[in-house]
Symmetry: C2
């Protein structure tokens, strides 16, 4: 294990295993060869044309595409699981389908399908830290054992996917309340400090993810508490303990490692003289096509 190893895990992309997913004449996602065969058999609104999966060729608006996708979803879940090894399920939360951050979505898609269709997804990640005479400490969460993704793994103070109908800041404040019982006033003090991204094929999921990163300095007396059952508990760890845990283990959720490494860099805890420093940095910021 090493810092760079976590970054490499988030940038594994065997391109030959995927076909583009096209909507309204542009690529918006990726689909495995096996899933493409399922979608071809499914028929309209899916078609296989010139090496690409085309969705909704006859559907001219975002509203119609969203509706048609939603109506296909339950049947898709069954076929995808049985025939292509995707165990996705309806999540009841809509994500925007966009090529570029800030664009109007070409449609909305249930969160549960996003990783099977290789749609780019966005999320907010909040580092909660405490500064005292001995240096920095970070709040570390332990994920619940019934989470769909990474059960029992270590996590940030707050993290969440970005639905279509909230701003990043609204989403951060909502998640901070639900996951860590932080008041809107406290969570609202979080500072946006950058973003990182990766494209990876991980446990049969395509993750084309952009993570917006926030830092929140908390006073020593302020303790977060789990509220909605997504976390088991929070602990305050000295920075050196977090760094050792990231460098030597895979105890943190796979992508949380990246946000933490970015924190180590921004707070001066990684030495730029190390020969892998630039590989780590460029691995946190892949080109977005």
């Amino acid at each position: 294990m090493s810092f760079l190893h976590h970054i490499q895990i988030c940038n594994r992309w065997p391109a030959e295993r995927f076909l583009p997913l096209c909507i309204a004449g542009q690529r918006f996602g990726w689909v495995t060869q096996a899933f493409a065969a399922v979608l071809e058999g499914f028929g309209p609104p899916f078609a296989l044309t010139q090496g690409a999966v085309v969705f909704g060729a006859e559907l001219p608006t975002a509203v119609e595409r969203t509706k048609a996708f939603d109506e296909s979803l339950d049947a898709l879940v069954e076929k995808a699981g049985a025939q292509a090894g995707h165990n996705f399920r309806r999540r009841g939360e809509l994500y925007p389908v966009v090529r570029r951050w800030g664009d109007a979505p070409v449609m909305l898609m249930d969160r549960g399908a996003v990783a099977s269709f290789g749609i780019r997804s966005f999320g907010v990640h909040l580092n909660g830290f405490v500064r005292d005479k001995s240096g920095l400490s970070l709040w570390v969460g332990k994920r619940a054992l019934d989470k769909a993704v990474a059960p029992g793994k270590l996590d940030h103070l707050v993290a969440g996917g970005q639905p279509f109908d909230l701003s990043l800041r609204e989403n951060l404040i909502k998640e901070a309340g639900e996951e860590a019982s932080l008041s809107p006033e406290v969570a609202g003090r979080a500072k946006p400090v950058g973003a990182l991204n990766y494209l990876t094929y991980w446990e049969n999921q395509i993750r084309d993810d952009v993570l917006f990163v926030y830092d929140l300095e908390l006073s020593a007396g302020m303790e977060p508490h789990p509220r909605d059952g997504e976390m088991q508990y929070f602990e305050l760890w000295p920075l050196a303990k977090v760094m050792r845990c990231v460098e030597e283990t895979d105890a943190f959720k796979f992508n949380v490692n990246l946000v933490l490494i970015d924190f180590f860099i921004r707070h001066g805890a990684l030495d730029p003289e190390r020969p892998d420093y630039l590989d780590i940095l460029s691995g946190l910021h892949s080109p977005l096509d």
Copy 2:
């Protein structure tokens, strides 16, 4: 002018105008078509082979390559200026020629030739900032009018190219003393906070640059002073004034804009909801080949 415009200026790369420069069987730089013709005419240790400029094919060691290059340099300076429009000159400071940060150099090259041969160069950039009740302020330097690059432009508190024989930290402390009269004790408190890079063709120079970025928090009473004549003076500007100046003008040296934009991002002054946020971030971190 806009934040993104500064980033685009640093990423202009008309690839068809360049040939690779190969040393010891690998590409280490780029050469314009016009300069390649000059080098072909120059003859050994230069040759033009299969669409690449090859340096020192007969020279098996870094020491021999360094010596042969140095012996060719004065003649090269004359021919390059007259025939290919490169006005480089001997600087008397040796830079390492490497493909990858931390590698042993394949040779050393006079700093003055680096931008004509498209060699990757490394530098240190120091943001000096003051935090008080009204927020952040940044120390801004005014470059001397006789600087070879960007005379009279605005600059950081300290910045300097990275020679082969110092560590980044040693170089930063040396430059901070020379340019801003900072003591080693003060400069040594600077925190490494990341790096950014770009590849651009700018005023007949190839800039394949990696900038290692440092932040140094200074107390309100602490004033830097120019020492070696590279700077005319320093002024403390409120962050909003610096941001406006970067966004609306080209008063800062071209690449200093990038380091400042990175500072704005890391300190929460750029809103991630803006649609160009990810373009800005990915423009600060191009892939390093």
